[in-house]
């Protein structure tokens, strides 16, 4: 905080790594860097895990992901199972099963193909016929044509996850500095320098940008702007009812409004997401739940589980997530600047990946390479034109 002219430590390296952005990605990386004995400073503009990482749906889902991402998702899933022991805190992860279903029989082949390919990549899925779905989940609409089932995926509490990682990182010796907005990032000789809006300066020989939907605002300062678009997925939650529905359900479809998903927590509330995404306002750090989206979501969730028509929703919200044109995050080393790394733009599916991204980025920064393939997420891919794909949040 010192602004003294003769401050003695102006040239001192503050840490081995400085991380800008205290979402799940930043917090998890800080934790795993400490596990590797690297000193680290994590800088967050507001409070840790307050943006996308704290307000998301909470799906810990692997199936349905871009196949080359499965090794990363698997690595993440393995860590999810060890969190209480790793962090000394529970973030309410329940591996209660995940059901991906479709209404349109033409999608059954796609589910089957996906399951076949996923098996090669270490994710076992069970295909469920229409009859089996009706028997196992009698409350689902009879419109369901079939489903694939991931027995050990599930859900967790997003409000707790990133802060729990940050606290564990602090206990392990990391510096987590909240309410600190970084205005400028640059490389200054061998070191990176992050300058806060209040003038404080943080230095390290390595820098990681984990600024979520705001990532490009920082990467562009290194000449690596990316076409990220901020959107606000829409969420709602019902009043509590007895805990019966263990699995997470999600609809696989090409029609945006049909994409709806839900999960119940042991406390009894049912959390609902999906259907249309709203606009987001990264400059004021807000995304609003839109009444029209709530209405669409209610109609679609009623269609999926008609009995929900008897429940009330008690709260709606949204959050700011960054989307890339190809629906894949930016993850890995900078294409231009050595010592600089990125992990942002997770396109509505970063919660499940959080622990894995932290582990992989720590490994990459610490050792210079990673045992989990992340080539498809290279920053450098934006050197060439990309195809636009339609994305699905969860």
């Amino acid at each position: 905080m010192s602004t003294l002219m003769n401050a003695p430590d102006q040239r001192r390296y503050d840490a081995d790594v400085v991380i800008v952005g205290g979402g799940f990605m930043g917090a998890a990386t800080a934790f795993f860097l400490r596990q590797r004995g690297r000193s680290v400073i994590l800088l967050e503009r507001g409070l840790v895990g307050q943006q996308a990482s704290g307000v998301n749906f909470g799906n810990v889902r692997r199936q349905g992901r871009f196949l080359p991402q499965l090794p990363l998702a698997n690595r993440s899933r393995a860590i999810w199972g060890r969190l209480p022991e790793l962090l000394g805190e529970d973030v309410e992860f329940l591996p209660s099963g995940h059901v991906r279903l479709c209404y349109d029989p033409v999608h059954l082949d796609a589910l089957e193909e996906y399951a076949k390919a996923a098996r090669q990549l270490g994710l076992d899925l069970e295909l469920l016929s229409q009859q089996t779905v009706r028997k196992r989940f009698p409350y689902l609409t009879h419109e369901v044509a079939g489903a694939s089932y991931a027995p050990v995926d599930g859900h967790a509490n997003p409000r707790l996850a990133a802060p729990a990682f940050a606290r564990a990182a602090v206990r392990a010796g990391a510096k987590v500095i909240e309410n600190t907005e970084i205005a400028a990032v640059e490389k200054d000789g061998e070191d990176f320098r992050a300058t806060a809006t209040d003038g404080r300066i943080f230095r390290a020989p390595a820098m990681l940008i984990t600024a979520g939907a705001w990532g490009s605002l920082l990467s562009e300062q290194f000449g690596e702007a990316v076409p990220i678009v901020a959107r606000g997925p829409q969420m709602s939650v019902t009043e509590p009812i007895p805990y019966k529905m263990r699995e997470v359900f999600g609809v696989m479809t090409k029609i945006e409004r049909e994409v709806v998903y839900c999960r119940q927590i042991p406390r009894g509330n049912i959390i609902i997401g999906g259907s249309t995404r709203g606009p987001a306002f990264p400059d004021i750090r807000r995304a609003y739940a839109l009444p029209t989206s709530t209405m669409t979501q209610m109609a679609e969730i009623r269609r999926l589980i008609p009995a929900f028509g008897r429940l009330n929703i008690i709260r709606t919200w949204s959050g700011i997530e960054g989307y890339m044109p190809d629906d894949r995050p930016i993850m890995g080393p900078s294409g231009k600047v050595s010592g600089l790394f990125y992990a942002f733009g997770f396109c509505g599916h970063g919660f499940q990946l959080g622990p894995g991204v932290g582990d992989v980025m720590a490994e990459l920064i610490d050792t210079g390479s990673t045992t989990t393939p992340i080539e498809p997420f290279q920053m450098a891919r934006f050197a060439v034109p990309v195809a636009v794909a339609g994305g699905v949040d969860e």
């Binding site: 409070l47 307050q50 704290g54 409000r159 707790l160 802060p163 606290r167 019902t238 009043e239 406390r267 609003y288 739940a289 839109l290 009444p291 029209t292 709530t294 209405m295 209610m298 109609a299 969730i301 009623r302 929900f308 028509g309 008897r310 429940l311 009330n312 929703i313 008690i314 709260r315 709606t316 919200w317």
Partner: protein, 457 residues
């Protein structure tokens, strides 16, 4: 020029006077009211088939009630009245109004929120037992349905409503076991100069106290409330408190009416994205408004208790003023004398209310004494200890952060009943001023909304 589309939310004193003023200027406002009938909380009308007289129902405010009701009846053909309709959200210059499971977007050029207030509550161990009501709730039970909340009722908390409700219960023939006021009597003396701004209101307050004394209701001032005793099966059985001389006392009862003044109902203002400011005197966050009720958002106006809790007469005046503000902002000429009259009466009432706040302060320091096992958020069953844990062990010092970690304010009431006291507990545990704790952000729907909700289209 086309007339602006104006929506008035609430048909209490503020909403009725606002609608009336708009109609007089040739505008046909839409009036959205959650209840079945107009009148608001204070002049709540009984169901059509009930036959109690105005005098029985409203006592010495019978004339005011009658005038408000008959003026509203006269307006009915000149407004678009939508009773039993909840404005559950505001976005993009539309109010989303749900009635009988159908949500209709209603566009507006001007929105006047006259949504009133709810009780301000300070938790106490045992307040989650059946038989604990808010003072306002106890009053509504009596007014709307002619029901008492119990056979032997203790009223406790502080503020003028405490004495008013107790006196109304006595007048209705109910047994009031005690009235326990957390404010010491000496403060009332100190506040007299300000209270004299409205001599009639002051005299009325004194009459209420006198009527309680005549009925031999035990009255205690300067008490420290310890707990409501009882159990989950039989509900409330009594109240334990220390009197002003620190003597521990117990009163048997089967119901409790609890309250510490009111807090403005600000969710719609919040959803309309109005700016808020902290009022140190009341220790409350309230939407910013100018003297005529303009919020920080163009086209959004606030009147009555949902802007500032100043009571029914002020609500009528501020409802008129907000209508004048709407008219002015749409190029109408407004009668300067009427604006002045409304402003003058508001100024008087503000001074009187400042006196009431001085005489009956919100006992915020009690938050520090709440035992860890006391439930703070009744929807989610979060205790004072849980809240202190997220402050001390998880670093939460801000209201929404503490909500995220502990679930406080996450239930059906969305923190409307626990948020204010919750902030005091957080502030005290964190050792920071309560304004730094901030306020819980409003989230739609403002009340539970059925998933069966349909689009009219």
């Amino acid at each position: 020029m086309a007339q602006p589309r104006v929506i008035v939310i609430g048909a209490g004193p503020a909403g009725v006077r606002c609608a009336q003023t708009l109609v007089a200027a040739g505008i046909r406002p839409t009036v959205i009211e959650e209840g079945r009938r107009d009148g608001g909380q204070i002049y709540r009308r009984q169901p059509e088939s009930f036959k109690r007289s105005y005098e029985t129902l409203y006592g010495d405010t019978a004339d005011r009630a009658k005038s408000l009701h008959s003026d509203f009846d006269a307006l009915r053909s000149q407004i678009d009245y939508r009773p039993e309709t909840l404005a559950w959200n505001v976005a993009n210059s539309m109010v989303y109004a749900v009635k009988a499971g159908v949500s209709t977007p209603v566009p507006f050029d001007a929105l006047v929120v006259c949504a009133g207030a709810t009780d301000r509550l300070m938790p106490i161990p045992g307040w989650d037992f059946a038989g604990t009501y808010s003072l306002g709730g106890a009053q509504i039970a009596l007014k709307a349905q002619a029901c008492s909340i119990g056979r032997q009722v203790v009223f406790m908390g502080t503020g003028p409503l405490l004495y008013l409700v107790a006196a109304q219960y006595v007048a209705a023939g109910a047994k009031v076991a005690a009235v326990l006021d957390t404010s010491p009597f000496s403060l009332r003396i100190g506040a007299l100069p300000k209270l004299l701004a409205q001599p009639a209101a002051l005299a009325k307050g004194m009459r209420l106290v006198a009527s309680l004394k005549r009925a031999r209701v035990p009255l205690y001032s300067g008490v420290k409330l310890i707990e409501i005793t009882g159990d989950a099966h039989d509900g409330v059985q009594g109240v334990v408190f220390d009197d002003s001389k620190d003597v521990r006392r117990t009163v048997q009862c089967d119901a409790v009416g609890l309250g510490y003044h009111l807090r403005p109902e600000t969710q719609l203002a919040d959803l309309a994205r109005c700016e808020f400011e902290f009022h140190a005197g009341r220790r409350l966050w309230m939407p910013k408004v100018d003297d005529m009720g303009r919020s920080s958002v163009k086209g959004v106006y606030l009147a009555g208790d949902s802007a500032r809790v100043l009571g029914a007469d002020a609500a009528e005046a501020s409802g008129r003023l907000a209508a004048f503000a709407v008219l002015q902002d749409h190029g109408h000429k407004v009668p300067a004398d009427q604006v002045q009259a409304a402003e003058a009466s508001l100024a008087r009432i503000r001074r009187f209310q400042a006196g009431l706040n001085q005489a009956f302060p919100w006992p915020h320091a009690q938050a520090a004494d709440l035992p860890d096992h006391a439930v703070v958020c009744r929807c989610e069953n979060v205790t004072a200890g849980d809240l202190r844990h997220v402050v001390n062990e998880m670093g939460a010092q801000e209201a929404n952060r503490a909500k995220a970690f502990s679930r406080v304010g996450m239930g059906r009431c969305q923190g409307r009943y626990c948020g204010v006291a919750g902030a005091e507990i957080i502030a005290q545990a964190a050792g920071v001023p309560v304004e730094l704790v901030g306020r819980l952000r409003g989230q739609a729907p403002i009340k539970p909304l059925t998933i069966a909700v349909e689009d009219p289209a």
